[in-house]
């Protein structure tokens, strides 16, 4: 008996120690792992400083200090990682040895206890049973009641479980499944410069007369809480914008009918101890990239590397941080959504560090589906997705490459080396050509290769074979081009409007509008809309390119004043224009019924 007691006590002690060991492994280790993750995040968010060569004339001290700081952090991470691994292995080892000890002590206890039980067993001494009848009936009655009670308990449990609501997979609650159709995309203004980023509206019933000072033609005007140079995005009855200052980042949803703010979605950055706040100039601001929507969600990106996605009710679906991009003027590339993918052109400085990449996030979860490195330094243009011979392509511009990718997996389709310098204007695709701009000097027309070429030749440099034409001229440094397929318009920041023939690049005319422009031009039917930095919309006629009517010229139809400075490109949707000024969002419409 004494042996059994000792064995039992020893078993209890071992069991307690194993339980404590398990608690330490299950509770304490994850805390250390969390700390490790924070350190890793901090390292990832830090810029990767490269010591400046002495002959560059700059002081190497700050970069050197950055390198040392990073090395220190890396060393700290390694030590902590090693410590966690050691602890984990030690705990497992402890549990394994403890299990063997427990087994041994339990066996000892059992053998001793069973022996003791045998030795202490008493001889059976049956007592008289005069009440067998009553006892048996009593047992049977109680047994029936126990079975009935068990059944009732089972029924109660089933009832409770049945009350758990079923997720109705056939219902379209929340975010609808699937993707928006091409028709729906064309009907709306889902991204920077509308469908496919071409700056061309599907509507022709757009106002041509308004005055912001008198209120004529202004359907509503709503103050935007935080500043930003990004452009309005419209889907059905909702208008989306983002705004930010050094401390706050927000996504806004406005009612397209009334201008009422439907919701504001805050976007938080991860807290990185010791990280310096991002400092950006006013020209770029803290919310330059335009949001994008797929008709189910709206996604936004900020120069801090924060990406967030909201449903149309304003609920944040997910948020992530890609790490602060290393961009000389601040990050400005707008988002594009293709099917289930959110495409982000994440170009960064120092091409030798290979930090630039095109990233595709799953729009429903925010997880990276694919990412492809790009051989370019920082750029500020936005990607577009167009169909070339039925093959969807993501077309991007960066110094010196115009590169197309397969949006399904990020595979490079073709590239052309044709532009240089700081690349801000976004490419467009019109008349079977991709147009890219090198600031101040060059306009390039590229004949992209479609699917057959890809299948036959794989990826390829089409610099020699794919450049349809190029012209050297005073090209824009900020505004993107626009084309109706026959005529191509360029608008420089200082107001020079140029018109080219798409087919051969022949310049047809140019017009100095004598004011500054930051918003990109747009085409609505047969009219060209140009919004100046002072808020004046220049509306001109796109001349029918017909040799019988002679050489087309600039023909101004109207000038409409808003009365506020404007940097963002307007959105044109079904009888309305949405313009973001420096402080307000305007809806211009001649129709009051919406």
């Amino acid at each position: 008996m004494a042996t059994a007691m000792v064995g039992g006590a020893f078993s209890v002690i071992i069991l307690t120690l194993i339980a404590v060991n398990h608690f330490q492994r299950a509770v304490l280790l994850p805390k250390r792992e969390q700390k490790l993750e924070v350190l890793k995040l901090e390292l990832r968010s830090r810029p990767n400083p490269v010591p400046t060569p002495a002959f560059a004339g700059a002081s190497p001290a700050p970069a050197q200090a950055g390198v040392e700081g990073n090395e220190q952090l890396t060393s700290q991470i390694r030590q902590l990682d090693l410590r966690i691994r050691q602890l984990r292995i030690r705990r497992y080892d402890f549990a394994r040895k403890g299990a063997y000890l427990l087994l041994a002590s339990a066996v000892t206890f059992l053998i001793a206890a069973k022996c003791a039980a045998v030795f202490r067993r008493k001889l059976p001494a049956p007592q008289p049973q005069p009440d067998r009848h009553d006892r048996q009936f009593h047992d049977a009655k109680w047994a029936r009641q126990a079975v009935t009670g068990g059944l009732v308990m089972l029924g109660g449990a089933a009832l409770i479980l049945a009350l758990i609501p079923e997720i109705d997979l056939s219902a379209s609650g929340g975010v609808p499944a699937g993707f928006a159709s091409k028709e729906d995309v064309a009907k709306n203004w889902p991204r920077f410069r509308g469908p496919a980023g071409l700056g061309v509206s599907a509507y022709t019933n757009i106002p041509t007369n308004w005055n912001g000072k008198t209120g004529e033609g202004i359907l509503w005007k709503t103050k935007v809480p935080l500043p930003g140079h990004n452009s309005p995005v419209v889907w059905d009855d909702r208008v989306f914008l983002s705004g930010a200052d050094p401390n706050k980042r927000e996504v806004y949803c406005f009612d397209a009918l009334s201008g009422r703010t439907l919701w504001t979605g805050p976007v938080q950055s991860p807290t990185v101890p010791g990280a310096k706040p991002l400092e950006l100039g006013e020209a770029t601001g803290y919310a330059a990239p335009t949001v994008a929507t797929d008709g189910r969600r709206v996604c936004a990106i900020f120069p801090t590397g924060d990406v967030a996605c909201f449903d149309f009710a304003g609920k944040r679906l997910w948020a992530t941080n890609l790490g602060t991009p290393d961009s000389a003027y601040g990050y400005t590339s707008s988002l594009e959504i293709y099917r289930n993918l959110l495409l982000i052109q994440y170009d960064q400085e120092n091409v030798e560090e290979e930090k630039s990449k095109l990233i595709a996030l799953d729009v429903s979860s925010g997880r990276i589906v694919w990412q492809t490195k790009r051989p370019v330094p920082g750029s500020w243009s936005s990607p577009i997705v167009v169909e070339v011979d039925g093959c969807p392509q993501v077309i991007t511009c960066g110094n010196p490459w115009v590169i197309a990718y397969d949006p399904s997996d990020g595979t490079e389709l073709w590239r052309a080396k044709c532009i240089a310098g700081d690349i801000v204007p976004s490419p467009i695709y019109a008349g079977g050509l991709v147009f890219a701009i090198e600031a101040y000097t060059k306009l390039v027309a590229i004949r992209p290769t479609g699917r057959p070429v890809r299948q036959a030749q794989g990826r390829g440099d089409i610099t020699e074979t794919g450049i349809a034409w190029s012209v050297e001229d005073s090209t824009p440094d900020i505004c993107s081009p626009v084309s109706n397929g026959q005529l191509l318009y360029l608008l420089t920041t200082d107001g020079l409007l140029l018109c080219y023939q798409v087919s051969d690049g022949k310049k047809l005319w140019e017009k100095d509008l004598k004011t500054n422009f930051l918003a990109s031009p747009s085409i609505v039917g047969d009219k060209l809309y140009l919004l100046s930095a002072e808020g004046v919309m220049f509306i001109s006629q796109i001349g029918p390119f017909d040799k019988a009517q002679g050489r087309p010229e600039y023909k101004e139809l109207a000038r409409c004043e808003l009365g506020e400075p404007c940097h963002a490109s307007p959105a044109f949707v079904d009888g309305r224009i949405y313009i973001r000024s420096s402080t307000h969002l305007y809806c211009i419409s001649n129709r009051r019924d919406g």
Binding site: H22, A26, R96, A99, Y100, L103, L110, A113, K114, A117, P124, P126, R132, H133, Q136, F137, D139, A140, K141, W142, A143, R144, Q145, A146, V147, T148, G149, G150, L151, L154, G155, A158, L159, L161, A162, I164, P165, E166, I167, L169, S170, G173, G174, V175, A177, G178, D311, A313, K315, R316, L317, W318, N340, D362, S364, S365, G366, R367, V369, S408
Partner: protein
């Protein structure tokens, strides 16, 4: 009754459980040592071929890659040895229980079974879990049940049909480990025993439902002892197993009596077995039957020495006589219960069908569909590995939802059967408790007796028999 084993084999073949192709595929170690859900892809490419196609890396440090399955797949010959060991153990158990009538020898056999089928074979394949393989192979023709698993399922059933629950006596490692730790047995009241046993039927029904729908092998997943056999396991399962063993110190074989789904089948077969355990040697002792030494009608001398000897509550005392009033009330009750039986089965069946919201979530596809839906609807934060992998396939969510809806429909139908089964069993149990059973001797209950042999030595007739053998 002697034809029953053959009938089972014939039905099995007719149901297509053992087709030549199945047998060929089942001979792969992958299947024989893995009575868990296998994917169709896994069946199409045997692991040996898969290994050739994707050879694992070689480590210069001497690191040995662990097997991806637990326990590691057995070579064919060893699987058949396992089946032969099982066959031999069952034969020995039958001999020890019915002819030798030796508790210590049965105990020794139980220790061997625990060491071999439990610790050495790590509790796999086990006859209890094999139920699910059989059920899955019936409902999913693409699933081939391994022939060794089939043997582990059928052999104990066949032996039970002839010799009673000799499998439970000394062959089942799950029973053996509980039997070993039983130190101070406490008797569970008779009236409670039947109600607690209802849980085993519920568990069997649930195991069949989930296996038939290809959702999960819950018997394996929630096997409380397998983590002991493997000296490793999930903390929750270890806690569950520890708790069951702790209870087993005081309550004889609680898992076998109140949980084991295989035991439910064995109970029914044992009722009709050719030979069975008797407390007193004599009438049904095969040795005596074979030698023609049949005992007289008064084998039991009503000494009552054995009435408290069974820690499993399997000894039934002689029944008291019923009065006329007892008969009158009993008849009415019985008639009422028989009328209510279909009502009970249908109503519990309906309740079972309403459980599909919960039960269908045991299926991975339904779980994935709901997760994807919640993520898309913004009602779930982040993603899971499964949802991420699904999205990477590019498969439309509508297709996933349609598959999940089909599976839910299966659970609606399955829930009817599951609930109906539970209701039927409860009703039959109530009927069984309401009818008169005539019994004049102290007897081991055919269904409940685990053939452990503890009661033998309490019987004076047994002592006389042993003395006669010695003389």
């Amino acid at each position: 009754m002697r034809r029953c084993p053959y009938i089972i084999v014939c039905v099995t073949v007719l149901l297509g459980l053992v087709s030549p192709a199945n047998v060929a595929r089942a001979s792969s170690p992958w299947f024989t040592a893995r009575p868990v859900l296998s994917t169709v892809e896994g069946m199409a490419v045997p692991p040996t071929e898969a290994n050739k196609r994707f050879p694992p890396p070689e480590f210069e440090s001497g690191y040995v890659q662990p097997s991806p399955t637990t326990p590691a797949p057995r070579q064919d010959i060893y699987q058949y040895i396992d089946a032969l060991v099982l066959l031999a153990a069952l034969g020995i158990s039958a001999y020890l229980v019915l002819k030798r009538r030796s508790r210590s020898a049965i105990f020794a056999l139980a220790v061997f079974s625990l060491l071999y089928f439990g610790f050495a074979r790590m509790g796999c394949v086990c006859s209890v879990g094999a139920i699910q393989n059989i059920v899955l192979s019936i409902f999913d023709r693409s699933y081939a049940v391994p022939i060794v698993v089939l043997a582990f399922f059928l052999l104990p059933l066949i032996f039970t049909l002839f010799f009673g629950r000799v499998f439970c006596a000394g062959v089942c490692p799950l029973g053996a480990i509980q039997d070993l730790v039983l130190v101070r047995p406490v008797r569970v009241p008779n009236w409670l025993e039947g109600a607690l046993r209802l849980f085993a039927y519920v568990y069997l029904g649930a195991a069949i439902l989930f296996a038939a729908t290809g959702s999960a092998f819950i018997i394996c997943r929630y096997d409380p002892f397998v983590s002991f056999f493997r000296l490793s396991g999930n903390w929750n399962i270890l806690t569950l197993g520890g708790s069951v063993l702790l209870v087993s110190v005081f309550v004889g074989r609680p898992y076998c009596r109140f949980v084991c789904p295989y035991g439910v089948i064995l109970r029914q077969l044992s009722r009709i077995s050719r030979w069975n355990v008797t407390i007193a040697p004599g009438r049904q002792d095969p040795a005596i039957v074979m030698t023609g030494l049949t005992g007289g009608p008064d084998e039991c001398i009503q000494c009552r020495l054995c009435e408290d000897s069974c820690p499993f509550g399997a000894i039934r005392e002689p029944t008291a006589d019923w009065t006329g009033r007892d008969y009158s009330i009993g008849k009415k009750r019985l008639a009422l219960l028989m009328v209510l039986l279909p009502v009970l089965a249908l109503s519990v069946g309906w309740a079972g069908s309403r459980l599909k919201n919960v039960t269908a979530r045991m299926h991975a596809t339904v779980r994935l569909a709901e997760r994807v839906y919640l993520e898309d609807a913004g009602k779930a934060e982040g993603t899971t590995n499964a949802s991420l992998a699904f999205r990477a396939t590019g498969k439309p969510t509508e297709q996933l939802y349609a598959e999940a809806s089909n599976i839910r429909a299966k659970f609606t139908l399955g829930g009817w059967f599951f609930g109906g089964f539970v209701g039927l069993i409860a009703g039959l149990k109530l009927i069984g408790l309401s009818r008169r059973v005539g019994r004049t001797d102290y007897e081991a209950d055919r269904a409940s007796c685990l053939a452990c042999g503890r009661c033998f030595e309490y019987c004076p007739k047994e002592h006389a028999r042993r003395k006669g053998i010695e003389n």
